[in-house]
């Protein structure tokens, strides 16, 4: 089975890069390859122009998809231990642990065993462990999965801050709305190949025109189906998003909508990341 097939992409410093793809596309395999956890048959992972070695990996931070912490080890000890494995001395590791546990709102659980923490708090400990050694590259596999909105906000804020201080942040997620808010650029892969890559804003502005239309009494947008050159992209809170071919006149669409009922919303919209994703994967 070929997991990665000519996959090439880069992660620029100072940006949060979304690494997207359907299940089985090769995201986790790619992330593991960065850390040498998967042997590549061909190709290489390079950091600042040179193949990644063990010394470079010690300057990376990693949060795997399947969270990995010692269940019976105390929170602070665990973060300190992992920071020391990344090369920090005991004093620096202790200080970084204190800082990050406070920053992520779990300082009061520092002396507790990891297994006694909730899923969300374990996730925060995992992130603290990935951040404690002040990494130059942060690779996070589904860091937002299973978190409540507060947790998502806290972690998102930290990731943006890390990127702003010059860190390369690469994260995978299936929560495309969150990725759209959080990431400045994305790489979408499928079957081990890159299918789309670029800035989120550029991708959003590209492609055919899009209309957001809300017609009272027709949440599913039945009125739009069958209009020539018009395709219903997705539903959005009672409205529908339409993709127009180049030769379609938007006035014709408005007239059709008004014919179906009272039009309460009619506006041109950017392409959403979820649409980019779907369109990229066909």
């Amino acid at each position: 089975m070929t997991a990665l097939d000519g996959l090439t992409f880069s992660v620029p410093a100072g940006r949060v890069v979304g690494f997207l793809g359907p299940n089985g596309a090769g995201k986790t395999t790619t992330m593991r390859a960065i850390f040498g956890l998967t042997d590549l048959d061909a190709g290489s992972v390079r950091w600042q122009g040179a193949p990644v070695d063990q010394a470079a990996r010690r300057r990376f931070g990693y949060m795997p998809e399947e969270r990995g912490l010692y269940p019976t080890m105390h929170v602070a000890e665990q973060v300190t231990y992992l920071a020391r494995l990344h090369g920090l001395d005991p004093v620096a590791a202790g200080a970084a642990t204190t800082t990050w546990l406070e920053r992520l709102g779990i300082a009061e659980r520092a002396g507790d065993k990891v297994e006694s923490l909730s899923h969300g708090n374990q996730q925060r400990v995992q992130l603290a462990a990935a951040l404690a050694h002040d990494p130059e590259l942060l690779v996070l596999d589904e860091p937002l999965a299973g978190l409540d909105p507060t947790g998502i906000d806290a972690i998102s804020q930290v990731l943006v801050e890390q990127a702003h201080r010059g860190c390369c942040v690469l994260l995978s997620s299936h929560q495309l709305d969150l990725v759209e808010d959080l990431c400045e650029s994305v790489t979408i892969i499928d079957h081990g190949r890159v299918v789309v890559a670029g800035d989120v804003d550029v991708l959003a502005e590209s492609g055919p025109r899009r209309l957001l239309v809300r017609v009272e009494g027709d949440r599913a947008g039945a009125w739009a189906r069958g209009l020539p050159g018009v395709r219903v992209s997705e539903s959005d809170g009672g409205a529908i998003r339409l993709v127009l071919d180049d030769d379609v006149d938007s006035d014709d669409v408005l007239r059709a909508a008004m014919g179906a009922g009272r039009v309460t919303a009619f506006s041109f919209e950017r392409r959403r990341l979820s649409e980019v994703f779907r369109e990229a994967l066909g």
Binding site: F35, L37, Q54, R57, R58, E66, Y70, H86, A129
Partner: protein, 431 residues
């Protein structure tokens, strides 16, 4: 001895061949090559320190150590308590208790391995009464008759043995007097010392089965315990997936080496504590278990415990890395426990009987069974220093080979999840 030299030479030849092959392919970068220049143990000391801290802090370690110390204390102290202080046999004399008669009584008592307390009874009836009441064990009516409450037909009771001995000694004394010998002449004859006995073969040392058995049991219990620690430690990291975080920072060999060295240090500390405790307690209470060759035997057991741990720990770590869940641990570790059980059972049998067969001597040179068999041979004084050293060298060489193989298996299996990994598949894997 010949066997030891043959096995030793074979091991050295295999090691040389292995070393040459390793040198030939030395240009190829392989961080897994133990002993290769490319090996980098960064992180291993930290891993070892964590293992040490976690083990020592854990309740199972403390309780386990306390239980073993209690068992050792019981094995040393209970025999002494049950041995107790022998109660002197009460001997009553009716008639004049002359020094010659007292000397004869003590001589007879020493002959049957007992001590006596001599009292003078006023009359034969008083002596009989004292015998019936149990105040006396044996009564002498002058030097004419020996009276006991009940004569044991098997001759096993101490009073019957003493009575029989007294009857003989006093009969001889009576014969001396009848022959007209003076008391001084009688005393001189009574004090006759046996002449020297010469043996054509050197005397064999008494076999102290107790210390050998204790040594074998301790090696078995502790080796099993340490192997279990390795199994659970590797399994914990794999099942909690923390191994993926760790291996993103350290190489598998560094993680593996740190783990086995950390647990090894705990094991060595615990074993040293237990052996020291046994030696000190034995010296304090004057235990027979620690006399003669026993301290050397225990030291040999300690050394072989370390060598046995060194040999098995890598294999157990590799086995644990192939399991997916905790309930699979026993099945992956079973093949490794078989040689341990063989070594243990044979060694226990030989330690008890004192007879080492040629097959058992072979076991003492095979690294999987040597940790049990070799200390027993040391206790039996049936191995030379050269033979002992040969077995140590064979064990060390094989440990290097096992460690290298285990490192490869560990690296290939530790990140495979979803199902139990088969050794055949691991060894076939290209990477």
């Amino acid at each position: 001895m010949t066997l030891a030299i043959v096995v030793g030479c074979a091991a050295v030849l295999v090691a040389l061949r292995y070393w040459r092959r390793a040198r030939r392919s030395g240009a190829h970068h392989d961080p897994w090559r133990v002993g290769a220049r490319s090996i980098d143990l960064h992180g291993a000391p930290l891993v070892a320190a964590r293992e040490l801290r976690e083990r020592v802090r854990g309740r199972p370690f403390r309780i386990g150590t306390a239980l073993i110390l209690l068992a050792v204390a019981a094995a040393i102290v209970i025999p002494i308590l049950t041995r107790g202080t022998p109660t002197p046999t009460q001997v009553g004399i009716v008639g004049p208790a002359t020094p010659q008669l007292r000397a004869a009584i003590h001589t007879a008592a020493a002959g049957v391995g007992t001590s006596v307390h001599v009292v003078v009874e006023p009359s034969a009836s008083a002596a009989r009464d004292a015998l019936e009441r149990g105040r006396l064990d044996v009564a002498l009516l002058g030097d004419r008759a020996v009276v006991v409450a009940t004569l044991d037909p098997t001759g096993a009771s101490s009073s019957t043995q003493l009575a029989t001995a007294l009857a003989g000694v006093l009969g001889v004394h009576a014969a001396y007097r009848a022959a007209g010998l003076s008391p001084a002449q009688i005393a001189r004859l009574a004090g006759a010392k046996p002449i020297t006995i010469l043996s054509l073969q050197p005397a064999t040392k008494p076999h102290n089965a107790g210390s050998s058995v204790i040594g074998v049991i301790l090696v078995f219990l502790m080796l099993t315990q340490y192997n279990t620690w390795i199994l659970l430690g590797v399994m914990e990291e794999k099942s909690s997936r923390v191994v993926e975080v760790l291996l993103a920072t350290v190489r598998p060999i560094q993680l593996l080496a740190g783990k086995v060295f950390g647990i090894g240090l705990v094991a060595l500390g615990q074993a040293t504590l237990i052996v020291s405790f046994a030696l000190v307690l034995g010296a304090i209470v004057g235990s027979n278990l620690l006399h003669g060759a026993a301290p050397i035997e225990l030291a040999a057991a300690l050394l072989w415990l370390v060598l046995g741990y060194g040999f098995y720990c890598w294999a157990y770590a590799a086995a644990a890395s192939m399991a997916e869940r905790q309930d699979q641990i026993q099945s992956v570790a079973l093949p490794l426990s078989i040689p341990i059980l063989i070594g243990y059972v044979f060694s226990l049998t030989v330690a008890g009987s004192g007879n080492a067969s040629p097959f058992f001597k072979v076991l003492a040179y095979l690294p999987p069974t040597a940790p049990f068999a070799m200390p027993v041979l040391v206790g039996l004084d049936q191995v030379s220093i050269l033979g002992f050293a040969t077995s140590v060298v064979i064990s060390l060489l094989c440990t290097v080979g096992v460690a290298r193989l285990a490192a490869v298996v560990y690296r290939r299996a530790i990140l495979r999840t979803g199902s139990k990994v088969r050794l055949r598949d691991v060894l076939r894997t290209a990477h």
